[in-house]
């Protein structure tokens, strides 16, 4: 059973890593704010438009997989941090129609409105997903009492603070996670655009500067976040089942699980290599591959550090005994086994996504291509 829980957390971490990488779409949308000229905006939107559904799907599958494998997390976090998840939800609803509607005649509200929706999703989506991840590290104000299901007057088992997630949005630690992810997404977006758009040297140089600037801010925020996480208390489950706070728990985990530390270092180095090559080689276009793979590995290792080694992956600040662990929040052995068989199809899915990606992005997008395509966004 424990192996299955570990395996499923690893899958969740991989999906989480893929999601954070794919948030480059949101990062790119946020770049619209400082992009001048409709041609440049259309190029960015159309290039990102090839991928927006993949990000959207990754978010949905991430949620679905979390629901299936750790349902107590789903019920506690979603049902508790109501306003946080609703804000994320609204931003993604606005995004889903904006690509298709923005330049269609008769769209009522005009292209600028839909671009504003993309911008909102770009900022809010990244930052608030980061806040939701922050709750995993720094805890939330909730209690879990399974016996409540028998209370006809108040039957809810997971009860959150009356602010329902607004308090999490106001936490500087959670916001630090949010803005780190935001600037990472913007850096990755700029690197992706350098790789996928061919609109002359001026466009390339402008995007390259965005990549370097956002990358610099990201590195500073990431180092700060790492320092905060590694010096924070974590919660662990003792042999008698009691949950206790442990100083430097996440740092201790890295020492006790060397392979996670190694993965974290590899991930960070890959991101830095992508950044460095872009900074030192003026015409270099391949930075996105380095930072993309680095992003996924870094996020996977951080999420594993968060949950393995008897660590509570979502500590309760109200009642530590209610904290969620991969052991007390998971589905049963039967369900996890069934789902594990299904997960054998993951490589097939990755393979066809990679194949289609390589076909669709084989040649960089040009303004002429958008002009000629009657279905362009």
């Amino acid at each position: 059973m424990e192996a299955l829980q570990i395996y499923w957390w690893l899958l969740i971490a991989v999906l989480g890593g893929a999601l954070v990488f794919m948030l480059f779409v949101q990062g790119g949308q946020s770049l619209l704010l400082e992009t001048r000229g409709s041609v440049a905006k259309n190029l960015i939107v159309n290039s990102l438009g090839l991928k927006w559904e993949l990000t959207f799907t990754t978010l949905v599958v991430f949620g679905g997989a979390f629901f299936a494998s750790f349902p107590l997390f789903y019920s506690t976090s979603f049902g508790g941090a109501y306003w946080l998840w609703m804000a994320i939800l609204f931003s993604f609803v606005l995004q889903a129609v904006s690509y298709e509607f923005r330049r269609k005649s008769g769209n009522i509200y005009g292209t600028r409105t839909y671009d504003a929706f993309l911008l909102i999703n770009g900022v809010v989506g990244c930052v608030l997903i980061g806040v939701a991840v922050g709750i995993l590290f720094f805890g939330g104000e909730f209690t879990v009492t399974r016996g409540n299901i028998l209370d006809g007057q108040s039957p809810v088992i997971s009860v959150w603070a009356s602010t329902h997630g607004l308090e999490a949005i106001c936490s500087w630690k959670n916001l630090l996670v949010g803005f780190t992810i935001f600037f990472l997404a913007r850096m990755n977006a700029a690197l992706y655009l350098m790789n996928s758009i061919d609109d002359g040297q001026k466009f390339f140089d402008a995007v390259r500067i965005k990549a370097l600037l956002n990358g610099l801010i990201f590195v500073v925020l990431f180092l700060a976040l790492l320092a905060v996480v590694l010096t924070s208390d974590g919660y662990t489950v003792e042999e008698n089942g009691n949950v206790v706070a442990v100083p430097y728990k996440y740092a201790i985990n890295l020492i006790e699980m060397w392979w996670i530390l190694a993965a974290l270092l590899i991930g960070v180095v890959l991101v830095l290599v992508g950044y460095g090559l872009t900074a030192f080689k003026k015409e270099y276009k391949g930075g996105i591959w380095w930072t993309g793979i680095g992003t996924i590995i870094t996020i996977v290792s951080l999420l594993c550090d968060l949950a393995y080694n008897n660590t509570c992956y979502m500590p309760s600040l109200t009642d530590p005994q209610s904290s969620l662990t991969i052991a007390n929040s998971s589905s049963t052995e039967f369900t996890l086994t069934v789902m594990s068989w299904v997960s054998l199809l993951v490589p097939v899915v990755i393979l066809y996504i990679w194949y289609v990606w390589s076909k669709m992005n084989a040649k960089p997008m040009t303004p002429k291509e958008i002009e000629e395509d009657s279905h362009s966004y």
């Binding site: 993949l54 008769g106 009522i108 399974r146 108040s154 049963t332 789902m339």
Partner: protein
């Protein structure tokens, strides 16, 4: 308690709103993706430019709907957690799996090949493009399969058992969940009704296009493809609809009684065609009925008994074999449900005290009484009765509209093949155009029957809505409800406006040229 009721009501309203809006777009994308795939196959085989233009025209309308369908779909997934968090824990071990499988098997397929379908004309080979179009159509239906497996399980929970130690239900037989006869029937009913909806939409829009005269051939070609898919879809929809009636009679007899506004059933029960429900008098007034029709529909036996709402409350029911028996009344079910809940409390107390004898006694009482666990949340049998009038009217609107649509599709095919000149008449075109809202009303009515008719259960007999909610305030849900209402209204307005413009474009210029 009052706040709990308000939270439940607003959560139900919010979920109903989202589901109704989502269902505006889902059947269209299910059906039109198939129609486009068939059209592109014709293009691939004939290499005729007119078919390429036809495919591209319908693809634009597909994409507009697909986007808004995706937008509303994610809300439903989130709402299981945000508004029904107890539900998510209590049955998440079973319910979560189909959702995750849907994402992995269907959503990634749709998302990946959607990009090829729309932007890959010059980037991939024609064969690869055709395969992508088919994979999107298959992905859309696969998505429907897994979500309907999940939905059917809520209405007919199988392959599970209750684990008192975890105070939740756990999966015991995945194949029973995935191949539940209710799920399979629901899938074919929903998907083929999507074919019908999309076909009537394509025919209606083709009538608008034909009216301008510039793309008459494209319109006729579209009617031919859509007409056949619609007719095949309608035959399957009616067949599976009949299967649904039989299954509902077996596993949700209260829903069937509400669908017919039937309070006291009898042997050789009539089927009401039209009537007005009087909930106070517990009767249907001014009705026109088919003799023994409901007995035939529900049991395939003209002389069989069909229990009404009061019969079921009194404990008169049908066995799976179709025999009438005196079984547990709803008042007794409430007692049994409360006994199951008390046994669970005793189990918890015994577990904490380490009292093995009390523990095994509690387990045996839970097992004996768990069948009616959810009734323990009620105080009176009436609480377990769904809204009768809404279910009744939705059912009868669906049946009447469905009957009309069958006729419509047959006539449309007859005209386009045998009397093409009739297609040029204003009357034929107006009938085609006005049938578009009819098919949507039919589709939404069907969904309302399925979902309102099963109230107040989130899980049939196990978990009523009041025990499934989240710990949020009624005001919070009220605010998000109105926000959703505003966003949906704004997006639907934009969507319709864009569609009208695209259809106008298709009407006013010669697409084939």
């Amino acid at each position: 308690m009052e706040d709990l009721i308000q939270v439940v009501d607003w959560s139900r309203l919010q979920f109903a709103l989202t589901a109704i809006v989502h269902w505006l777009f889902v059947p269209l994308t299910i059906g039109i993706s198939l129609i486009i795939a068939v059209m592109e196959t014709i293009y691939y085989r004939t290499k005729s430019e007119k078919w390429l233009k036809t495919v591209k025209f319908w693809m634009v309308l597909f994409a507009i709907n697909f986007a808004i369908g995706v937008a509303t779909g994610i809300i439903l997934e989130f709402e299981f957690g945000t508004n029904w968090s107890n539900y998510s824990w209590f049955v998440g071990d079973i319910f979560g799996a189909p959702l995750a499988i849907e994402g992995l098997l269907a959503f990634f397929m749709e998302a990946t090949f959607f990009a090829v379908m729309f932007f890959g004309w010059k980037k991939v080979s024609p064969a690869f493009h055709l395969a992508s179009t088919w994979l999107v159509a298959i992905g859309v239906s696969l998505s429907a399969l897994w979500i309907l497996i999940a939905n059917a399980w809520m209405q007919y929970p199988v392959g599970m058992e209750f684990d008192p130690a975890q105070m939740r239900n756990v999966m015991s037989d995945f194949m029973a969940v995935a191949t539940s006869p209710v799920a399979i029937n629901k899938f074919f009913h929903a998907v083929t009704s999507g074919w019908v909806l999309a076909s009537v939409f394509v025919i209606g829009v083709s009538c608008i296009i034909a009216a301008k005269g510039k793309n008459l051939q494209m319109a006729k070609d579209s009617v031919k493809v859509a007409g056949w898919i619609g007719l095949i879809g309608m035959i399957f929809t009616m067949w599976t609809g009949d299967g649904s009636a039989v299954e509902v009679a077996r596993v949700q007899p209260m829903k069937l009684a509400a669908m017919e506004g039937l309070y006291r059933g009898e042997v050789g029960q009539e089927l009401i065609g039209i009537g007005i429900v009087d909930e106070k008098e517990r009767d249907v007034k001014y009705k026109i009925a088919i003799h023994k029709g409901l007995s035939i529909l529900a049991n395939h036996d003209a002389d069989s008994f069909v229990p009404g709402i009061d019969d079921l409350i009194d404990g008169i029911a049908l066995t799976p074999q179709g025999d009438t028996i005196n079984t547990t009344s709803y008042a007794q079910r409430i007692e049994i449900g409360k006994a199951a809940q008390q046994a669970l409390r005793d189990y918890e107390a015994a577990r904490k005290a380490g009292d093995q004898a009390a523990l095994s006694d509690a387990i045996s009482r839970i097992k004996a009484n768990y069948q009616y666990f959810g009734y323990g949340y009620f105080n009176s049998p009436e609480e377990a009765v769904p809204p009768v009038a809404l279910t009744f009217y939705a059912f009868h609107i669906m049946v009447m509209a469905g009957g009309y649509l069958l006729l419509f599709l047959i006539v449309a095919l007859f005209i386009v093949y045998k009397k093409p000149v009739w297609f040029d008449t204003r009357l034929a075109r107006w009938i085609g155009i006005l049938s578009i809202p009819v098919v949507w009303i039919c589709s939404e009515a069907g969904w309302i029957v399925a979902e309102v008719g099963r109230q107040p259960w989130t899980i049939q007999d196990i978990l009523p809505v009041q025990a499934a909610v989240s710990s949020v305030t009624a005001q919070s849900v009220q605010i998000t409800f109105w926000l959703f209402a505003v966003v949906f209204a704004a997006l639907i307005a934009a969507e319709i406006s864009i569609m009208v413009n695209e259809v106008k474009k298709g009407s006013n210029k010669d697409i084939i040229a």
